[in-house]
Symmetry: C2
Subunit: 87 residues, 2 copies
């Protein structure tokens, strides 16, 4: 499945959240990651994130798509991230 993950977390937790996410997805832009991921890995990622974030302050949104077939991506300005290898 293809996911887009966006996060809005306290500054003390940003690095840890980013580092955790980058083990599963690739960085696209400030607080945005995307990539193909298995259901099992997504469960692992969510479990790890839940142990990091503050439920009352932080927000992580995961858009999950069964297929990449029905969407396309357009960038205005520069392309910051990319599909660099993960792990």
């Amino acid at each position: 499945m293809f996911v887009i993950l966006v996060y809005d977390v306290g500054v003390k937790r940003v690095n840890k959240v980013l580092k955790t996410c980058r083990r599963y997805l690739h960085w696209v832009q400030n607080s945005v990651l995307e990539g193909d991921i298995t259901e099992a890995n997504l469960i692992k990622l969510k479990t790890e994130l839940k142990s990091i974030i503050n439920d009352n302050e932080d927000s992580v949104i995961i858009y999950k798509f069964r297929t990449k077939k029905y969407h396309n991506i357009e960038t205005l300005g520069i392309k910051k991230g990319g599909e660099e290898n993960i792990l």
Copy 2:
């Protein structure tokens, strides 16, 4: 069509970009907006954004989906934004 728009722009331009985007989409989280939009309005939004952003520094990514059917959204932590009315 349903879109997710994420932006990573210079601090001097953030307010103007957000204000422009909020006329078409609803704010979800820091630098993330989403919503249903017509092709014509998306073209208008992109034209307005191009006149605001600095092509060499800023990045706006628009994920476009023909249908909402194939995806679902999960939030960890708090839900910051919402479908408040636009305009």
